[in-house]
């Protein structure tokens, strides 16, 4: 059993994913839950880059392009998510997830 650099990259990204998962599951501030989701997205991007770098064909920039699109979508998601947090705060005067049980505005 030897640890290749690809193993280390995958271990790093799975650890980052689990940190994001724990944050998204256990925190009750909606901003922190959103940040946990962002961390999980970043972990997935790390996997793309790791497999691109150590994959059979690193000359094709497919992994880089995938992460580029992923970063663009993540930016849109963060903007919409934080706008939702602000809208919820305006209605409920709180950003606790337990207080946001009503869909009616």
């Amino acid at each position: 059993m030897i640890l290749t650099p690809l193993h280390l990259c995958l271990l790093l990204s799975s650890a980052l994913f689990c940190i994001g998962l724990i944050g998204a599951l256990s925190r009750s501030s909606s901003i922190l839950v959103l940040l946990g989701v962002e961390l999980m997205l970043n972990a997935a991007n790390l996997n793309f880059i790791a497999f691109w770098r150590y994959g059979p064909n690193p000359a094709a920039g497919t992994g880089v392009l995938f992460v580029l699109f992923s970063i663009a979508v993540a930016a849109a998601e963060a903007a919409v998510g934080l706008a939702l947090v602000i809208a919820i705060y305006r209605h409920q005067r709180s950003i606790r997830l337990q207080d946001a049980r009503r869909l009616k505005g």
Binding site: L25, S28, R96
Partner: protein, 170 residues
């Protein structure tokens, strides 16, 4: 190899501390460090353009949006954050996360992977641009439309409703 370990340390420790802290502002500031660590990983892996986009988008833009959201949703000046709901919920989250971590680590460590010692072929910015404009033109256009629609939607969601009176629009 040591470079990767340092990058892992810089990425994982701030992320873990940020998820454990109670003050949301401190968490956001620590996550900036974590995102910078991820940019360093991209740099280490030979994807320089991605490292710059990570710095621009995450370290520059998303962190500012998060800080603005934190500041806009505070009750008072000293209101640091949100108290955790119950100990049970935190423990359940920790348990599930630990279980997922164990499964992932077991799967990764028991998989034989190629060594891949050959140096990374340089993917130049020019090559990326040609790829984007030739093979992935549709995807590029769709991402542009998605960003436009998402940002317009964010403005519509976050804009204060003028009918609800001035006391509601703070």
């Amino acid at each position: 190899m040591t470079g990767l370990l340092i990058i892992a340390l810089v990425t994982l420790v701030p992320a873990a501390v940020a998820m454990a802290l109670r003050n949301v502002i401190h968490s956001a500031l620590l996550l900036i460090l974590s995102w910078a660590g991820i940019a360093a990983f991209y740099f280490w892996a030979g994807a320089e353009f991605l490292a710059f986009s990570q710095v621009l988008v995450y370290v520059g833009a998303i962190s500012m949006v998060v800080l603005f959201a934190v500041l806009l949703t505070r009750h008072t000046r000293t209101d640091g954050g949100v108290a955790p709901d119950t100990l049970g919920r935190a423990l359940a989250g920790l348990l599930i996360g630990g279980a997922v971590l164990g499964v992932l680590f077991g799967a990764v460590l028991s998989t034989p992977l190629p060594i891949g010692s050959k140096p990374a072929a340089a993917v130049t910015v020019h090559g990326l641009g040609v790829e984007l404009m030739e093979r992935h033109t549709i995807a590029l256009l769709v991402v542009g439309v998605l960003l436009t629609v998402a940002l317009l939607g964010a403005v519509v969601l976050a804009a204060s409703d003028s009918r609800s009176g001035p006391e509601d629009a703070r």
